[in-house]
Symmetry: C2
Subunit: 347 residues, 2 copies
């Protein structure tokens, strides 16, 4: 299956997202693979067996969101300069969202930009992170605050990689699938309620559906001037949670699950979701063992943190909310009192 | 006078380059000015008197090419996060090429990209660096090896800033003007031979002409897939010279002057320039007190250095050469022997 990206505002950016067994990859250039020390022992040999190129080098970094920073980017850049990659060389990301985001960012920076390919190995990166060209790193002020919009030349999504994925990480990916369904497609949400992802065909169809929804959004709005912001449902809260817990306690998708619950409490407060809908979403998250509770230690500091989010302008926070299941609404005029009242339910 | 940039391959990127007295600038957002400790005492108050905005903050860094690195970028980013700039905020570069390159790069990275304005204060940045969206920093492997293509939303070129510019830096800017003339326009070269830039009207016309030539090239080829490489005439050599002398001994334009001489020796060797033409270009460089001599300590190491240049692919170096005065030729098949023979004239 192939889904295409063709960005509305750029004449030259078009690429395919292939959802299938990884094909043989032939390059008439130097290639560098960026991966981490968890994925390398599992899948690096397999990838190497698929690549034909002038020269292949590998950069292996430590696994973990806590290494997603500028220091690691400098390290990767240094390695690439040692390999003497040139402007026509290709970088390949082999790993989850962290590897994909950092590889894309590095590719955008190396000699002001060289081509890169995404080979996502986690469910989260297969259904979300690898598609759309958001790249970057975290800093002490928050998540993904430094980066670039930079599109890959191709994305290869092979569900086989998921066979080695720990259950907890699989679930974290499901959180982003539920996000897409709640925001855009009631039937898809229903499908998720009624079908199990243990079935391989269901899983493949689900990946395809999520990628299609995502590609559709990105094609309309690469730079997040409008509709793309909807993909941040749950993320405004999740970013604060991840920051407060130093990116260690929760996987990104787990923080998103909690963020979805928080956003839904706000929707409920504003009359946009009823308790039944709230509970249906919660039950689906719980079915995949995703966390739905979080203790906010300090309401004011949690609230202040919102203003460093990329979705806050002129002291207004932009909340992406469910307006019933399957549709979304963007609100940037919610009173501080109401927000804090909702946050207190987690206090 | 206004010159327009309208990039051929991007639907949404168009901006004006205003060559005139700096107008009043009104922003409905937060603004941050990035400048250095040489320019701030001279021109910051003047700029502040021209700006109306919700809030104006200033980041002042040390003056000098040796600070053009990722460490300084991180420092600037940190300051901007402290100011809580949001995605609609504007960054203004007040300074020469180093400030412009680093400000544009920072703008490209902050929350994956916010708008920036160029206010170049040196002749070099007015005629060259501020136009075209090349941003970035140096690293131990070479010049501008890490960066982004990122266009400003406007460029304001006020020749008045040049009144405080040291003569040596003025001359460094003239090197880039001579580069443009030799590559693209024999009449312009003749104009430079026959007219003095001491005259303010001549100077303004010369800035406009250079900006027009540059904008014309950038409009055709933003990402340097073709014609834009011609702007690197002299630079392939200059980058090695700057690297060998730790970016301290020569101003960029001075290294370019030497690089032009080296490229011209290669042109002469290949029968593309005769000795008269070679000498005419040299005389114009010398008239502005630009250096035209350089002692290469180690020919092999100088030669090896070429391969880290962004213009080298698959072990081929791309040389931009004068093919007579006023036209250019790109060569990537020159024998190592010939190149080294020419380099030996500087040994």
């Amino acid at each position: 299956m192939v889904v295409s990206i063709s960005l509305e505002n750029s004449k030259n950016i078009e690429y395919n997202i292939v959802i299938d067994n990884l094909p043989s990859l032939k390059f008439d250039t130097k290639v560098a693979i960026i991966t981490n020390d968890t994925i390398a022992p599992l899948h690096l040999d397999f990838l190497l067996s698929k690549i034909e190129a002038n020269n292949v080098s590998v950069v292996t970094i430590k696994d973990g969101e806590q290494y997603k920073n500028l220091e690691t980017i400098e390290y990767i850049l240094d390695e690439l300069f040692k390999f003497k990659l040139d402007r026509k060389s290709i970088i390949i990301a082999l790993g989850g969202g962290v590897i994909g985001d950092m590889t894309g960012f590095t590719a955008s920076l190396y000699q002001r930009g060289i081509d890169f390919v995404q080979i996502p190995t986690t469910l989260l990166s297969q259904v979300d992170a690898s598609v759309g060209g958001k790249t970057g790193v975290n800093n002490k002020y928050g998540k993904n605050l430094v980066g670039a919009f930079y599109q890959p030349i191709a994305v290869y999504i092979d569900p086989k990689f998921l066979e080695t994925l720990p259950t907890r990480e699989f679930s974290a990916g499901v959180a982003e699938i539920i996000k897409m369904a709640v925001m855009f497609d009631k039937d898809y949400f229903k499908y998720m309620q009624e079908n199990s992802l243990d079935n391989k065909e269901n899983l493949k169809m689900t990946i395809k559906k999520s990628v299609e929804l995502k590609a559709n959004v990105v094609n309309q709005d690469e730079k997040e001037a409008g509709i793309r912001a909807v993909l941040n449902y749950g993320h405004t809260f999740a970013h604060v949670i991840e920051n407060e817990t130093n990116y260690i306690k929760y996987l990104h998708g787990e923080a998103v699950a909690i963020g979805i619950i928080m956003a839904n409490e706000l929707s409920y407060e504003l009359g946009l979701l009823n308790r039944d809908e709230f509970n249906e979403i919660k039950e689906l998250l719980v079915r995949y063992n995703l966390p739905v509770n979080y203790k906010i230690e300090n309401i004011d500091s949690f609230y202040e943190h919102f203003f460093l989010d990329k979705k806050s302008f002129n002291n207004k926070i932009k909340f992406i909310l469910a307006d019933g299941i399957g549709s979304h609404i963007i609100k940037n005029d919610i009173d501080e009192d109401i927000i804090k009242k909702v946050l207190k339910r987690f206090g």
